[in-house]
């Protein structure tokens, strides 16, 4: 082992010890199903804002976007824009109604309206599909990354190590530990990004404009303009990518459940303010880091190390600050991966234990301690399952899997979430049909695309097929409602669906128990 490796190793061990310490502290507070899934709903606004940032800024953001900008310029910045503006969809349309209607999982929100096991099962299936694609991406990325940064570690060992760590975090510490690991990771990542940016700007007399001018002068004008429009298909591909990004976040279960960890809609709102400033500030700096790598590391050296440019940021750190800076950036990238993976395990375990086991199999009659045990068993199961999947899919392109997860989330979850909140006539058949249409069309078109089939592709576009699968998801909801099952009014009469008045009032006010609320309000009025 060389000195450089030892420095990097020290930072890695420090990150692991810090997160395990947090888990030990949190384990004492992890006492039941509610604390496992949503930290008892007691997370504050700034804490949740940092945790959302920690959950969201995955390795694909930190390493992938910097690398994409370093190698191909402006088009790498597309992801930064889409990932940020997506929060307006979350904030304006989804966050507060979801907080007001949900409990532990996304399916809870839908079944607040639809008293049907089919709705819950379909929603749990979507959560598991999305979380699995996302998780394999993170684990494969972790393996490849650690292998590049710590050359003495084989990728298989790295994947197993990350897998074991996340199992410990989630099974012992639940959502409390996960939240704090995400907070620590967010702080580390922001610190690292600012440090890298300052170090780059210091080379260019602290003028960002000089960085852009130098890139144009040294690497060519194509680095600062969008890729030239070639065919109608390539234009459609860009539009489809943007659509998947702006809608996808509002359907990502591991992001949405973060709004259930806060006590009320007002706190959910303030946590988005924190998150959007942190996430936006982070993405705004990505061109400086990417172009910094183009200029100070060189495109050839970046592509030689990794064709996708995934280690451009660490290479830049090494060029600017030597082994110590490289070790710090690498450890931050590692923390990034474990924090995201922990959040994914929680959401997938909720779909298995809370939705499938407790509500579909046991019809909601499992006791509190049975639920808590099921949650922990499911977490361990999900973690082990994804380690095995990640080990067998090591060759897959990471960015492709993340984009697939966004495409599925936008098509399978977003239509049903929006219509549950906003459409009075929506019924059980429509909800189930819509979720399955969105899931099957988005996954199906992706598997028929050149990403999987190469030249034999039946569907020509390479980006997530959101431009077709999102409308199909909505169409599934609409046609299912129109043609299948009974009308919403009849479902309401027979108790298969609660009245739309209740959903309408609850989603918009956060009032969950109308009688209790009216009594409290009455007492308040009498005392004044």
């Amino acid at each position: 082992m060389q000195t450089d490796d030892i420095v990097a190793l020290i930072f890695f061990v420090a990150v692991i010890l810090l997160t395990l310490g947090v888990t030990y502290w949190a384990a004492k507070r992890n006492v039941g199903a509610s604390s496992h899934y949503v930290a008892g709903g007691q997370i504050t606004g700034w804490q949740n804002g940092l945790a959302i940032s920690g959950d969201y800024l995955s390795a694909a953001s930190f390493l992938g976007i910097a690398g994409a900008i370093a190698l191909s310029g402006f088009s790498g910045f597309y992801l930064s824009i889409g990932y940020l503006v997506a929060y307006l969809t979350v904030l304006l349309l989804v966050a507060e109604p979801l907080r007001n209607l949900g409990k532990y999982t996304l399916a809870d929100m839908l079944t607040t309206r639809f008293n049907a096991r089919g709705v819950r099962a379909a929603s749990a299936l979507n959560t598991i599909a999305i979380s699995t694609f996302y998780m394999i991406a993170q684990l494969v990325g972790a393996g490849a990354l650690i292998a590049l940064l710590l050359p003495f570690m084989p990728p298989t060992l790295s994947i197993i190590l990350v897998g074991i760590l996340m199992t410990v975090y989630v099974v012992a510490g639940g959502m409390v530990a996960t939240t704090w690991i995400q907070i620590i990771k967010a702080v580390l990542l922001v610190t690292a990004t600012i440090a890298l940016t300052i170090a780059v700007l210091a080379q260019f007399s602290f003028n960002p404009l000089t960085v852009f001018n130098e890139v144009q002068a040294q690497a060519g004008r194509e680095m600062v303009i969008p890729p030239p429009p070639e065919t109608f298909g390539s234009g459609l591909d860009t539009v489809s990518l943007f659509l998947a990004l702006v809608l996808g976040t509002a359907g990502l279960p591991h992001i949405l459940i973060r709004f259930l960890t806060v006590p009320d809609a007002k706190t959910a709102r303030s946590s988005i303010v924190w998150a959007v400033w942190i996430i936006g500030g982070f993405y705004l700096l990505t061109p400086i880091i990417g172009y910094g790598a183009t200029l100070l590391v060189g495109r050839e050296a970046i592509a030689n190390q990794d064709p996708a440019g995934n280690v451009a940021a660490p290479q830049l750190a090494a060029a600017l600050g030597g082994p110590a800076f490289l070790g710090f950036i690498s450890a931050v990238a590692f923390a990034t991966i474990v924090a995201v993976v922990a959040g994914l395990v929680i959401s997938a375990s909720g779909a298995f234990a809370h939705d499938f086991y407790n509500n579909v199999l046991r019809r909601g009659e499992a006791s509190e301690s049975e639920q808590f045990r099921a949650a922990r068993i499911a977490s361990a199961g999900v973690a082990i399952g994804s380690i095995i999947l990640a080990l067998s899919f090591q060759g897959l392109n990471v960015a492709f899997l993340v984009a697939l997860a966004f495409g599925v989330a936008a098509s399978a979850n977003v239509p049903v979430i929006l219509l549950t909140i906003f459409w009075k006539k929506f019924n059980t058949a429509g909800a189930v049909t819509g979720m399955l249409t969105g899931l099957i069309s988005s996954v199906g078109l992706t598997f028929l695309s050149p990403n999987i089939l190469g030249d034999a592709a039946l569907y020509p576009l390479e980006q997530p097929p959101a431009i077709f699968s999102v409308p199909l998801g909505f169409l599934g909801c609409y046609l299912g409602t129109l043609l299948g099952g009974r009308a919403a009014e009849e479902e309401q009469r027979t108790g298969k669906q609660v009245s739309y008045e209740e959903i309408y009032v609850r989603a918009n006010t956060g009032i969950s128990d109308v009688e209790e609320e009216l009594e409290t309000a009455e007492t308040e009025t009498q005392t004044t």
């Binding site: 304006l92 349309l93 890139v215 303009i225 969008p226 709102r269 303030s270 918009n508 009455e522």
Partner: protein, 114 residues
């Protein structure tokens, strides 16, 4: 009939003037804001995917494409804070709706002192 009775109480809140004002105010902000941000956002991929209009330089090497991209950040932060300031007003309307549904005359409570 439990279902019917419970539904009637939700309707009691729905029919208060404060709740109606809440929903009007929400629509007045959310509908135009959503249409605007989606149109402004999708404008970028449509222009860069099908035209080269944004390729011209603005200052130095900064192109119109970058200016449009940075404008998306400003739009996001601006709409974020506009939403929050509208939403703070909505919180008051929710409280009013609760009191109104419980039988108190609207606006009479918070201001009147005991």
């Amino acid at each position: 009939m439990y279902v019917a009775q419970s539904s009637a109480e939700w309707e009691r809140i729905e029919h208060t003037s404060a709740f109606k004002e809440l929903m009007q105010s929400k629509k007045a902000f959310i509908v135009p804001a959503t249409i605007f941000f989606l149109a402004f956002y999708m404008g970028l991929p449509i222009l860069t995917g099908f035209t080269t209009w944004l390729n011209g330089p603005v200052i130095g090497a900064i192109t119109w494409a970058y200016v449009y991209a940075f404008a998306q950040f400003i739009m996001t932060w601006t709409l974020l804070h506009l939403y929050v300031s509208w939403a703070n007003r909505w919180d008051e309307l929710v409280d009013q709706a609760r009191r109104e549904a419980a039988g108190a005359p609207a606006n009479a409570d918070a201001r009147g002192e005991g």
